[in-house]
């Protein structure tokens, strides 16, 4: 049938576009040719493989070297700092006249230096955030962030190894040098704090809402309760669930072998077989438990304690570390390569190592502070306070999850450190469990 014969109530051009069974061969080749032309350069490059630039350490005079920092100091800090962190992590005190959130500890820095800090709580999972900024880092372009906060683990290790972070100049961090706690100085994952300074540290454990669940929940297998089916989650990241499963099975993650990992993987898989697990979750679990979608879940200590203490509607939340022990992790501040305001960034990072500023954070977010002197201030504030404030501050000051007791310390483990081949072995084993 030719175009002319088509019934005139159907627009022939439209029909052709929508229904034509085949592109003419000549057209196909023309488009294919143009496509190949456009791709040829990149495909030739791709065909040679994608060599990872092994840039261990800072080049003399390059970004992160003392000379480079000296130059930055001459220039002075820029006008704004882009600070990107996890949600529920910084002190809040209502809103200002323009409706912007007031964050007292950050405001103190802005008032003191006149630098504007753009604070975003955009990080929900290390893997996903790293995946989002990785293309820029790979191409040597700015990521748009001056400070980011990443947990010790695979992503951090890879970023350090690939030269994606700016080496810090500790002559610019007087507060850090003076006040950092022994556990946070020279950590095993970043010897000498070359690239990172701790933001906060916390524990992974279990949370439950006493409206639905009596508790306490002290082991992973407690969650597998048919009565709560559909209202239970575990973290689906490559660190928390695998390490927690090993500890549950009495395996020390630090000395674990691939056989041990298999056992942990079997335990986690059994949650898929059970059918009552709602989701392999990330930071979104906090919204879900607040919405009462979740009744019991794997959780991060401060998130839950903060909700419980500061929001009356969440007073029924509880947090506990499992009996068998738990993982302690550290979220670290760092400056990604090609950051636009590195000097401002390092000054802001150091700002948080003043004891009174550190105390402001602890009193709000109920995580473990890297500044022990700040803890003393929290305890003093608790003694001095009165009424409801006193109750809240006392609970923070006496919480083992904020000021770990010796008994708890003895049960804490770090994430398994993975080297070389182990990384893909680990990921191949665990990641498929979380996406089924």
């Amino acid at each position: 049938m030719t175009e002319e014969q088509k019934p005139d109530h159907v627009d022939p051009t439209w029909l052709r576009g929508m229904t034509m069974p085949r592109m003419s061969r000549r057209q196909l080749f023309r488009y294919a040719g143009a496509g190949v032309g456009a791709l040829s350069l990149s495909s030739i490059l791709a065909a040679c493989g994608t060599p990872a630039e092994k840039k261990t350490g800072t080049k003399p005079g390059g970004e992160g070297s003392p000379e480079w920092w000296a130059e930055r100091e001459k220039e002075g800090p820029g006008d704004t700092i882009q600070f990107t962190n996890w949600p529920a992590y910084i002190d809040l005190a209502g809103r200002d006249a323009q409706g912007n959130r007031i964050r007292p500890s950050l405001q103190a820095f802005m008032d003191e230096t006149g630098i504007e800090v753009v604070y975003r709580a955009d990080i929900n999972a290390n893997e996903d955030f790293y995946a989002a900024i990785r293309p820029a880092l790979e191409n040597g372009e700015p990521t748009g962030h001056d400070i980011i906060v990443i947990t010790n683990g695979q992503e951090l290790t890879e970023m350090m190894a690939l030269g994606y972070l700016i080496e810090l100049d500790h002559s610019l961090t007087p507060n850090f040098n003076e006040n950092v706690g022994p556990a946070f100085k020279d950590p095993t994952y970043d010897p000498g704090n070359r690239y990172t300074m701790a933001w906060q540290s916390g524990m992974t454990g279990y949370a439950w809402n006493t409206k639905f669940v009596d508790g306490p929940i002290t082991s992973m297998r407690d969650l597998m309760n048919d009565e709560w089916a559909g209202h239970v989650t575990l973290f689906g990241n490559n660190a928390d669930a695998p390490n927690m499963a090993m500890i549950e099975l009495g395996i020390d993650p630090a000395t674990s072998t691939p056989d041990d990992w298999q056992q942990a993987a079997d335990l986690l898989s059994s949650f898929n077989d059970w059918g009552g697990l709602r989701k392999w979750d990330d930071q979104a679990y906090l919204t879900a438990i607040e919405n009462e979608d979740l009744w019991a879940t794997m959780a991060w200590s401060g998130d839950i304690i903060n909700d419980q203490l500061y929001y009356p509607e969440f007073a029924s939340f509880r947090f506990a570390a499992p009996d068998a022990g738990t993982v302690v992790w550290t979220d670290n501040m760092m400056i990604p390569a090609k950051a636009e305001n590195p000097l401002g960034a390092i000054q802001l990072m150091d700002h948080y190592y003043q004891p009174e500023i550190a105390a402001m954070l602890t009193e709000w977010n109920a995580y473990v502070s890297p500044v022990p002197a700040g803890g003393e201030i929290v305890k003093a504030d608790a003694d001095a306070a009165s009424g409801d404030d006193k109750k809240v501050l006392n609970m923070i000051a006496s919480s083992p999850y904020v000021f770990p007791t010796d008994e708890l310390n003895a049960k804490l483990h770090s994430y398994r450190v993975l080297e070389g081949e182990e990384v893909s072995q680990w990921n191949d084993l665990f990641l498929p469990i979380f996406t089924t």
Binding site: M1, P7, T50, A131, D293, F434, T435
Partner: protein, 255 residues
């Protein structure tokens, strides 16, 4: 495509870099490990297409035949929610469908639903989410083809003693087939490749092939496997679309 094909044949890791080794096994490994998800994605895509057509056809039909001078307004109202970002709309659904949210919370409070009832985290939520998100792609081609049908043909059918149903079945439906054809293509292909809905609204047991590609590409950083999966998915869709067009998209549906 060539670039993707070549990445799919490489070996290596993020730290060591990737080299082209013509590692064909990437493809067979990808299939043997992930065939379940291919099947599930194709099934979800088919479900979305069928449900979408059943929903969209009456809507498109009504606007085309009874919309009168408000046709454009109706279409505009229909498209209005879709001016908002895809992801935000999907996340909004996770709030609307929350266990104690405005819908189910209320129904549970008045005792119409058991306390344990939930939609989030199920295949139903995923399929419903994709159907909703792709609804304009289903409605618009249908609307265009229905709108262009000459009403006098329907009149003629009735003059020839066709009942309303018969007139629809023998005149309107066949004449709208090009729209149905296009709607199926425009719905099925994006539905099968979708991963946002499964991520936001789904739970264990609802992941689709798009989620696996995302996992391999972004989280495990196994670029070769991810490229192989994407390549296979594209090949399936391309071959499927060509066959579909050959078999159904021929002249007779346009007559």
């Amino acid at each position: 495509m060539i670039a993707m094909g070549s990445v799919a044949l490489q070996e290596g890791s993020a730290l060591e870099g990737y080299r082209l080794t013509w590692h064909i096994a990437n493809f067979s490994d990808a299939i043997s490990q992930y065939w379940v998800y291919f099947v599930r994605s194709l099934r979800n895509g088919a479900l979305v297409t069928i449900v979408g057509l059943l929903l969209a056809y009456p809507i498109a039909y009504w606007i085309a035949f009874y919309g009168g001078r408000f046709k454009s307004l109706f279409l505009f109202l229909l498209l209005l929610p879709f001016f908002i970002s895809f992801v935000i709309r999907t996340v909004s659904w996770s709030f609307i469908l929350a266990d104690s949210g405005i819908v189910f919370g209320t129904l549970k409070d008045i005792g119409l639903l058991p306390e344990r009832f939930r939609v989030l985290g199920t295949t139903f939520a995923v399929v419903a989410g994709i159907t909703y998100n792709l609804l304009p792609f289903t409605i618009l081609p249908l609307y265009v083809s229905l709108e262009r049908i000459d009403r006098s043909l329907v009149e003629a059918a009735k003059d020839l003693y066709a009942s309303k149903t018969e007139a629809f079945r023998k005149v309107v439906l066949p004449l709208s087939m090009p729209g149905v054809f296009a709607a199926i293509l425009l719905t099925f292909i994006p539905a099968t490749g979708d991963y946002v809905n499964a991520y936001v609204l789904g739970g264990p047991g609802t992941a689709m092939i798009g989620n696996q590609i995302q996992l391999e590409f972004l989280r495990a950083r196994e670029y070769p496997t991810a490229a192989a999966l994407a390549f296979i998915l594209m090949a399936i869709m391309l071959v499927g679309a060509i066959l579909y067009a050959r078999v159904l998209g021929t002249e007779e549906v346009t007559t």
